[in-house]
Amino acid sequence: MLALIPLFPFLGFVVNLAMGRRLPKGVSGGLASLAMLASFAVSVIVVLQLAGLAPEARAIEQTLYTWIASGDLNIGLTFRVDPLSAVMILVVTGIGSLIHIYSTAYMHDEVDSEFARYFSYLNLFAAFMLVLVLGANFPLMFVGWEGVGLCSYLLIGFWFKKKSANDAGKKAFIVNRVGDYAFILGMLAIFAKFGTLDFQGVASAVAAMPAETGFGILSLATLLLFIGATGKSAQIPLYTWLPDAMEGPTPVSALIHAATMVTAGVYMIGRNAVLFSHAPETMTIVAVIGALTALMAGTIGLVQNDIKRVLAYSTVSQLGYMFLAMGVGAFGAGIFHLYTHAFFKALLFLGSGSVIHALHGEQDVRNMGGLKKELPVTYWTFLIGAIAIAGVFPLSGFFSKDEILFETFVEGHKLLWTIGALTALLTATYMFRLVFLTFHGERRHDAPATAGAHDDHAAHGHAASSHGHGAGSHLHDAPPAMALALIVLAIGSVAAGWIGIPHAIGGHNELGTWLAPAFSATRVVGEAVGAEAGAEAESAADADRAALELTLMGVSLTIAVVGIAFAYFVWVKRRRVADNMVREFPGLHRLLLNKYYVDELYDATIVQPIKAASTEGLWRWFDVRVIDGAVNGAASIVDGSAGVLRRLQSGSVRAYAGSLLVGVVVILGYYLWR
């Protein structure tokens, strides 16, 4: 049963890969979407089964066969679904299917073979993501981990004729490698420590021991794992690939770089909640990194002009939120935010995608504006998404973000809370800056399109030719398939939060209680750590805590409103203010515009040295001298020896007979001596 969930997309991938170029678009695209829907259906069934079980016993396992068995290392190809992975598979398959459907319309201008290739990649990605989520042990998860990395490379570089796309793909791949390396090391450390790689086994083993004080093996392992997570989930220091990943098709950005893949890191930490919660050092680091990332990305997002880049940075900062939650031990809150974020970020991306689609590849907000009337569906859905992410009651973003902030505060990290609050402000501001620049005000098509826009245009080439008229004349709104996805997601972004309504305002935080067992150790030692989750549940009951929560809610709500108002004031009322600010602080502006020069820094400190080393050392010296030397040396040795041995081939019968006789004498002598 479980195996079917990743199997369906995989079959779709195989089919599309094998015969996709011969299939018409409708078939290949429909096939892919069907595969996703099927696996979504299966996931729903599975989750219902799961819900049927007792809360403490919620886990369904399926072992296909023993994958690796050597010594005491025994790894089965085992899928396990528990409350946590249940949420994940729903998110992945659900939002994944929506995005598939969306793509059938969005990618419609591609030729058949490209279209099929796109969908085969997309299906493959989904399959790997599901393996990652369902894997019951580290190696299996790592398979999915690597697989989604591969797929993101393939999809980011989908328009491989475009150099920037290729570079972005390679960047994503290589940066991820760094994280994966750390991830492998972490796995090894864990195996060295516990002798098993099964999540349950590790969890129960850890739960048996007291929380680590100081920096020990646990902290090391978890830290390594976390570095892996930063690679996959775009945190400092490995976040730089995500903004560039916007080179890929917009649905890809939505699916991979907002909804699912980037959340893998968060999921991984949640999956090993017990382990992490026993390594306070790492937890602190996670929290700090998360907060910093959130803030930094938010500031950058404030000034970017590429609509998708802004979204990308907002993704980074939202992920920062999630890590913050994880770091402060509020795993439930983190996953909650992951879940809600999946909805509204996918919605935002798809909305931006429909905008770009309508404008034939225009991505620069400075060339947009006033699209409210032309693209009503897009506008309203986009607006909903923006409100949700800004965290306005009662949309989904509000609950999750607020829970995170509350937990942070409760755990006593006042500073981190402040940063979080500030980031919330920034979020509201740049999101609505985006909204206002894109949809309000007068249209600014006279402004010259950016080079990037032109490249994109070339990539979409036939897009322009297919709708004959250029930007500026009448635009058409999202076609039905896209509209469907947008609307569903909009509903999701509104309602998704309602399963996590805190007790303070009369909710029951179903999600929290649902997830609680997943973050405790195995049923046996469940109470040891389950206390934390349970504690949250019952302590929420007492009043002052509720009061605190309520005040904090108010604070964050006001923050959101203030941010929105500020954005409105600056980018709708007083356009000059923005320009003045730019003129006032040119250094700051340039710094932010160039993303703190991080890319340049990496390029100078890492890329160039490696390049030089491999050119001079590996190529010029090792390859040319050592390897080629060895090869040529062997050849010349053979040549020389052959030159000597050739003299034995005299062709003279007597010479041969002589050698024969030597052998006779020697052998006979040997047997005589014995």
Partner: protein
């Protein structure tokens, strides 16, 4: 005693004939002398209670193989050995190599002598069933040949076939008719 005398006579004949075979330049004589030596050897076989082998020796060697040699000698009209002309070019012309060869030969002889000295003088057959009849019976020979050595027997048949084809292919005159 007569058999000793016969033995020495045959041995002397075989050795002398063989020596002469390699001792002179006319291949025709070599062939004839070799036949003589084979005859002597078959005499020795008879002394060893192997009459069948003795006769087969005559039939196969003297009767067939040697006729073949004779035929070839006559066909090529047996040119005398042209000793000198290649010797300068030959690698063995070098004296050191000649000395080495001589050393090798002496070594071989010494080893053979040594080996023979190691052979205890077996006066009588060691096996239990050593009567001449059992050893010389053709029936027994055939039985063993076709039971224990069947595979070798078949293998030799294949070998002969291959040799026949090979000989035909090699000796066929590739002329204009191909």
């Amino acid at each position: 005693m007569p058999e000793t005398f016969v033995f020495y006579a045959f041995s002397a004949l075989a050795i002398g004939a063989s020596t002469l075979v390699i001792g002179q330049r006319n291949p025709m004589y070599s062939v004839m002398l070799l036949i003589a030596s084979f005859g002597a050897l078959s005499g020795l076989y008879i002394q060893l209670d192997a009459p069948f082998v003795a006769v087969a020796q005559i039939i196969i060697y003297a009767g067939a193989i040697m006729v073949l040699f004779l035929f070839v000698v006559m066909l090529l009209n047996a040119p005398r050995e042209d000793a000198a002309e290649y010797d300068r070019s030959h690698p063995f012309a070098h004296p050191n190599i000649g000395r080495f060869g001589a050393l090798l030969a002496t070594l071989l002889i010494v080893q053979l002598a040594w080996a023979l000295s190691k052979v205890v003088e077996i006066e009588a057959p060691v096996a239990s069933r050593s009567d001449a009849a059992s050893v010389s019976s053709v029936v027994e020979m055939g039985r063993v040949l076709f039971t224990r050595h069947t595979f070798a027997f078949e293998a030799t048949s294949v070998l002969i076939l291959v040799a026949m084809v090979g000989a035909v292919v090699l000796a066929r005159r590739e002329g204009p008719e191909q």
